[in-house]
């Protein structure tokens, strides 16, 4: 058995063990902490699959941001946890669920082991056309040029999700601030970190954004980092979440999609198709879209974590 397979095998065992733990453990708080760890392990699996861009996204969003979101929810659900946990289904349902889950897994395993050889791939097409985008990172080229429609729609989906979350606000809090106010503990560890980390985090985010054109990285990863830094200052109590009725906030939310759409429609007369870039201008246009999207993604992700408005606009 060679070394690489041993590493992969151990990683798979660890991932499955943590996944089973998040399902089986009684306490929901422990389960969500387990899920955050699971996200980080999964990021390692992505590294082993040579998908560094996906690894960065999984670590930042799957592990980090989803972890924060679920931990906040677990804390708030704790008072009624024991009541709901008692509604466990009977042994028959459990057995049936196990059979169903086993069947689906077995079917997928068969599919995995009988994938066609040689594997179909679009890599040669990407390699052939990547020069026209001026980018060095093939994944960024796919996201922002070859499959730009997907990325545009995704940016819109994020905003729609936020509108849906906000619409859960009680009427009298509409336009107010999301989440509960965090108290500042001036000499606490969290406040210390919230003062120390954001300058570093912002620099790393800008770096990740900038190298995303040629190396693993890009607007999603950078936007998530910025969102995390903003959330850190809010949760430490150094900064309050803005009321959702603020004009600048609304502009920041849609700026990415609007810039994307504007450049997309400009492509119709200038390059002959929606979201086509005029020859020689692909890279600067992609960078403009990425910069605007990064800010919108950062604001949207942070507000999705904070949830619907729960108090008035006054601090």
């Amino acid at each position: 058995m060679n070394m690489a397979l041993l590493v992969d095998g151990s990683l798979v065992v660890l991932i499955l063990a943590v996944a089973i733990w998040t399902i089986a453990v009684r306490d929901s708080f422990a389960a969500v902490v387990g899920y955050a760890i699971y996200g980080l392990m999964l990021a390692l699996a992505w590294v082993r699959l040579a998908a560094i861009d996906a690894a960065l996204t999984e670590a930042a969003i799957g592990g980090g941001l989803t972890g924060v979101l679920l931990i906040r929810a677990a804390v708030r659900l704790r008072p009624t946890e024991s009541v709901v946990a008692g509604e466990m289904p009977g042994r028959f349902v459990k057995a049936l669920a196990a059979v169903l889950a086993g069947t689906v897994s077995a079917a997928l395993a068969v599919v995995v082991l009988s994938l066609p050889v040689p594997a179909p791939t679009l890599a040669p097409q990407v390699a052939e056309h990547i020069a026209s985008t001026g980018l060095g990172n093939a994944v960024t080229a796919v996201l922002l040029s070859f499959r730009a429609t997907d990325t545009l729609l995704e940016a819109v989906v994020l905003v729609f999700a936020l509108i849906a979350v906000w619409s859960l606000a009680p009427d009298h809090f509409w336009g107010g601030r999301p989440g509960l106010r965090y108290d500042l503990e001036a000499n606490g560890m969290l406040a210390y970190l919230a003062r120390l980390l954001p300058p570093l985090g912002i620099i790393v985010a800008i770096y990740v954004f900038w190298v995303g054109a040629d190396l693993p990285g890009g607007k999603f990863q950078a936007g998530t980092l910025l969102a995390a830094m903003w959330l850190l200052t809010i949760m430490a109590g150094l900064n309050d979440a803005p009321p959702v009725s603020r004009g600048w906030l609304r502009v920041a939310l849609v700026a990415g999609s609007m810039v994307f759409l504007a450049i997309g429609f400009a492509g119709v007369p200038l390059a002959g198709a929606f979201l086509a870039y005029p020859e020689g201008y692909a890279k600067p246009l992609i960078l403009i879209i990425e910069a605007a999207s990064m800010l919108s993604i950062a604001v949207t992700l942070a507000l999705l974590v904070l949830g619907p408005p729960e108090r008035g606009a006054q601090p």
């Binding site: 397979l5 899920y35 929810a73 889950a101 897994s105």
Partner: protein, 110 residues
């Protein structure tokens, strides 16, 4: 068996673990968690397909890799919406249970 196939089997197992948790766990938060496990298993299968498509110096087919990145972000937004719905349910109903308050017969008969 190579590394990619191993991770493929891992993805298949994760989908199964997620389905079991989704059905068996009564707490809605745990169901959301399980659903995310299913999702990450599917993403991992995508990653395996991408890895197998490695060619011309690229470590994997960049198209499925890009789709996975999009998928992870959309999965997060769906999770955030589910959590917001859940917290609102607890706020209005007093507890985050999915069992209807009156388990009497069907009310649509009237």
């Amino acid at each position: 068996m190579n590394g990619a196939a191993l991770f493929g089997l891992c993805g298949a197992a994760l989908v199964g673990i997620g389905i079991y948790g989704l059905i068996v766990n009564p707490q809605p938060l745990r169901k959301i968690l399980s659903f995310n496990l299913i999702g990450s298993g599917v993403f991992l299968l995508f990653g395996v397909v991408a890895r197998r498509g490695a060619a011309l110096g690229m470590g994997g087919d960049p198209v499925p890799q890009a789709l996975v990145i999009t998928g992870i972000v959309v999965a997060f937004s769906a999770t955030a919406l589910a959590v917001a719905l859940l917290l609102r349910l607890q706020e209005t109903g007093g507890s985050a249970t999915l069992v209807p308050p009156e388990s009497a017969g069907p009310s649509d008969a009237s």
